[in-house]
Symmetry: D2
Subunit: 406 residues, 4 copies
């Protein structure tokens, strides 16, 4: 039946003018980076529920990430976070990853958990703290060199909780100064991803509060600096795909932190709250891949897709597999958009026709396609089931309770 | 100059028809309960910054609350939270409070930090967990009896993170069943405050998500059950004072958890983000105190005012004193409203006149009044300065770092 | 290929334990009422763009509604709005509808466009205005009797724009008094739907601002009063399906006004912004249809589904057809939920399993099913195409520009 | 008593180190432009309530604006909107203004009410429409020259209602192209203010949706292009004063459209919903006026303060006077900030101290100061009362009902 379903799907898409071979090729190439911290315990400010089987160190986190890659075939890299993943020998960590078919992806500095950073890191009024924060950033570039990663991914938690607490413009200058030094330490092939966030942990102002601030900073720094869009870091109602299309057009979209939200930065499994939004993001990306401008095309094709979630109640590895599958699902649907039809309707100012031409792709059931793609890739057709059937869930129980958390 | 300022204030208000003696009497009677947990370390999910001088146990938290009461004169009770304030002998704890001129206020159950409550407490699908949660609620009623408190204040964190995760209607029934048992254990003079919250820690649905659900539940339970309004627990844009007026009219407003927010449940110092909102809440309360219906009047006069904040970066005791002062400021301003003028304008459908009649009270500087009130009460005119000048800030440093937190 | 697709769909669903015959029966029975005003010109406060072919009166609006019913087979009734659809002889209007296979559905009073209502209708401080508003409500009950409709659908725009503008509690009493009189004029088989709205046209407070206020009012009035949920009338982030499940459990959900929103009350085509939310609403309804309580089941089966949109830029009739199809799509998907599987996972506290059991139904492509259902119903398989192919679009151009608007 | 109040105020401020002469000078110099359309009838999409006495043409609107200037002394210019204020001879209109002590301020193009603009103006897919829109923009520059205004103030309503409706990146390019042509037509002393808006009238995407897009566009165009901040055009929770400080630091803040909002773009009287926000905006501006960078200082001192409200239920002229007074109130309070104290506390990372140093200025009652300032300026001490006492309210009734509206 599965085969039948696939052949029918292929027939339907072919009749619509969709090149199914290209669709499959694209899906196979969609690499989704998973975060080492996504395998650890995490929670809300009210409670971190500890689970059995949580990795106890950076090496075990990589083991879990490797398991996800073996089951999905599309997660070849794992993001690390310093100092959560601090080890004595980063070369050894990279080696450990390589042995399992992985590589180290984005290196994420941490400028929010040291006691000195209570009132800011690179934006702190105290020059000693700013210096310390900058040293950490430079350390992360060094780590990236050691693990042969080309990506530094910076989320800056700096902000204030009260009006008047700090001089906002002064902090803006300090921020630029530190990042300029960080930028100048990058190797030519490296990219610096600059993330923004509407609020939390700061509740009055956040120094990098929105895409506009991240974008302007990236412009000031240079070509290697790009904006990172975390799908949960916006005000309610924000049209995220519009921002995506804007950054693509400016050749400044570097990557994503995927997750879902209904309220604030809920960090839920991507694709579970409003899957259509994820589909529409991919629609903008695929549209940009066909741009006349080579720079725009290249930007769209060079996006770093990363998952960044906080699994409070979910089993970690299955949650990560589900996340990867959800991303694939919406990407596959977006690949079924008949762009010729969309553009024709747009040119004719046919509002309903253009809306329908995009939405009709969303309504396809792409699960037969994804099963076949997985077969062709030599990974399990049902990665979640395969995970449960493997010995891994039982094996990790040996780690006990009380593994890594943030 | 301070005297001059007060006499001028008195003259102006008297000319407006405001009875300054009654205003002072009202301010002196406004009791504001502080929470034991507000003196401990607290933070965001990203970090709890530990401070020196934090109380190490329930007794020391009461010491801090007593200090705030000595300095302000209007904080005669302290809310406790079980098990954060669990002690072997609650009588002894109450005695400790009495010795310092305090009494134990609302007893707050904790249904969110036990590992068993990860997927719900009284709404958990597992009857054993529900039973355990109910037992804890009943234990809290017992504690209340032992500390001679008449208030149980329930915030229920129960909820789900994903569509389909649970049967929402079934959980609603379980919630009612447990609370009905809790309710039947109350002494006749006791009140049960039912709090609601828009989201967090649950990110898809919260079993008591808004005032409507808390109100309906309180109606089902009976007269001793009332709604508690936490000023930070609403969707963006919600007209909180409208809800306050509605609950007053229904004689179902039990109390407040005061704090400020700009984004979500930010739990900042009350009165720092939008002080006008706090003023407008008091306007509704003072308006209801003049209602023809005795029940409405009594409800308005019997509100439990409680502070509930999470001081992430602030020194705890000064933050609490500032909070108390901010509440007094807005209350004092609301007492300067010329209700005759407001009502006349309302009757005449004079939009600008009515708006102005309310707002003009907000624009008065009530600090001279509050200084005189404090003098008359025999407390420091400047409680914050008095705190800094006392030996207390130095004395508590002996507690070291690593005190109580949640 | 279409046949192939359907047979495969049937096979898959049958294997999952879904009774396809029952699914089809349910879809055929899902009646969706369209609003007469949805066929007229409408716009934003900035501009109403006038289109050619807009109906010039109530009779022509019914013609358009009848066309939509002929093409979809599931829109047997049309809501009317007084005075927009005021005619001399309502019996004649009903007759006109019957001749075209339609009946008149909900009668909607208008309490917001008379000059007297600028500062409120049934909540106005002026008793003469309140009396006039009540008279209009009673007139609408009379109209309902004349057109043999059993539904009165009340949206109350009353509210204020400024703090202090009016006595909120007094208005609450006036509101109850008028609705109590309206209620007492209902025939026993009639229902009164009470709608709520977060804001607009009032920008400070709205007298019926949320479901809690509408629900309490319906409880006070009696069994024939029920709450109407307009999907665009909530604060950002509100879990609408939770409210739906709550009202179902209380047997107080009367009906829906379907539309889509991204920001405020955008009144866009239903199902175009976040189709998953619509699916989840139907999930709650279908869940309630299986309740042990007969009253809950009956409530769920007796919901009045109505579209209420404001087509600013869209061609009106195609927009309505698209809306009806979008509702059917999400309803059909929800009918594919394997409730046994969902409940089993819920009982086992299997978060990922339960979430997946609901979402997997959303991922089916139900278009083959809907095509077959339409065939079996004897309506066009593609209603939009059939509309374009009919002479109707051309025929209505004779109406010219400048038809009905609100 | 008024005198006593002022002398006490002066004494208090002087003791705090505030130079009261400079404060008064600043208040007198704060020019607030009123909009011609604010004197006309306006409303919501549900109803425009027509009032008696509304100006019937551009000349009468200027009469009303002149009245507001006579009564307040701080509204020397009036913004016009083309074609709402289209006249045959703009020189004559300017002359009419001059005779009454006014000048014409910002010229506002209208790109949203022509039928051709239904799906966009300068972003329309149709080159003929784009050309027409550009011609209108150039016409407005011509009008500005004729009325000797140096400010073009552009609000672009362009956007889409549905995903897929249009190519977002293509529209971005068309937008730039038109504005580049507009920009090149400016005289050297002219400024182009670029406004942004979160949503409405478009409900899916707005081509200039946030400050980041307006800022980038202004950067691309050149020095004469600056961003205009309308206080009601942001997502809920947005920290507007942060954006203000950011734009000041970048020397790209051109002006404000002042109004209040609680929900969306409510366009209520400025200072009535959250007066503290307005105060905090002025805090940022006054802070920037002391910057070491001359460009930042000049930018802060050269801001165009404009009111942009939609008076739905209010009498127009009194609403405008109240708005002007509310702006003055918050400005005067901000001028009482002890910046030395603020900066000292900021340098010491004294969170509570710095917060208090800003907020304490907000708590002063500046009405005695404003009365004296008005006396010194030779305008009525109570402008609203003076308006009611003047013959003007009666005189304009001759205009009848049915004046200008938008």
């Amino acid at each position: 039946m599965s085969d039948k379903a696939y052949y029918l799907f292929e027939e339907i898409q072919t009749n619509r003018g969709i090149r199914i071979d290209k669709v499959k090729e694209k899906i196979k190439k969609l690499a989704i980076e998973t975060p080492s911290w996504g395998y650890g315990d995490s929670g809300t400010r009210f409670k971190v529920f500890q689970k059995a089987g949580i990795p106890r160190n950076a090496f075990e986190k990589i083991d879990d990430a490797a398991m996800v890659h073996r089951l999905t075939g599309v997660c070849p890299s794992v993001a690390i976070h310093i100092p959560w993943d601090k080890v004595e020998d980063y070369g050894q960590l990279a080696e450990h990853a390589h042995h399992q078919g992985l590589r180290i992806g984005a290196v994420n500095p941490n400028l929010f958990q040291d006691n000195d950073y209570m009132l800011g890191s690179v934006c702190n009024v105290d020059p000693i703290v700013r210096k310390k924060a900058l040293a950490h950033l430079l350390e992360c570039v060094q780590v990236a060199k050691e693990v042969q990663s080309d990506n530094i991914s910076l989320w800056l938690a700096d902000g204030t909780n009260y009006p008047g607490q700090a001089n906002l413009r002064q902090r803006k200058h300090w921020l630029y100064e530190s990042l300029a030094e960080l930028y100048s330490s990058l190797l030519p092939q490296m990219r610096l991803f600059i993330e923004y966030k509407f609020f939390e942990p700061a509740f009055y102002h956040t120094d990098l509060a929105d895409w506009g601030m991240a974008f302007h900073l990236a412009n000031q720094l240079g070509q290697q600096a790009q904006v990172l869009v975390d799908t949960g870091h916006h005000a309610q109602g924000t049209n995220v795909e519009h921002i995506v299309s804007y950054l693509l057009d400016e050749q400044k979209l570097g990557g994503f932190h995927f997750n879902s939200r209904k309220y604030a930065d809920d960090d839920l499994i991507v694709g579970t709250m409003n899957p259509y939004e994820l589909f529409l993001i991919f629609y903008q990306i695929l549209d940009a891949e066909q741009d006349v401008d080579a720079g725009v095309r290249k930007t769209a094709e060079n996006i770093a897709y990363m998952i960044d979630q906080s699994h409070v109640i979910e089993p970690k590895i299955p949650a990560m597999i589900r996340s990867v599958m959800n991303v694939q699902t919406q990407y596959a649907k977006a690949l079924c958009i008949d762009f010729v039809k969309v553009r024709q309707a747009q040119l004719e100012n046919d509002v309903l026709g253009a809306e329908n031409a995009v939405r009709e792709a969303f309504e396809f059931d792409v699960s037969p396609l994804l099963r076949v793609v997985r077969e062709e890739m030599g990974v399990p057709v049902d990665p979640l089931q395969a995970y449960e059937a493997s010995g891994y869930p039982k094996q990790i129980l040996e780690r006990g309770v009380g593994g890594a958390s943030w």
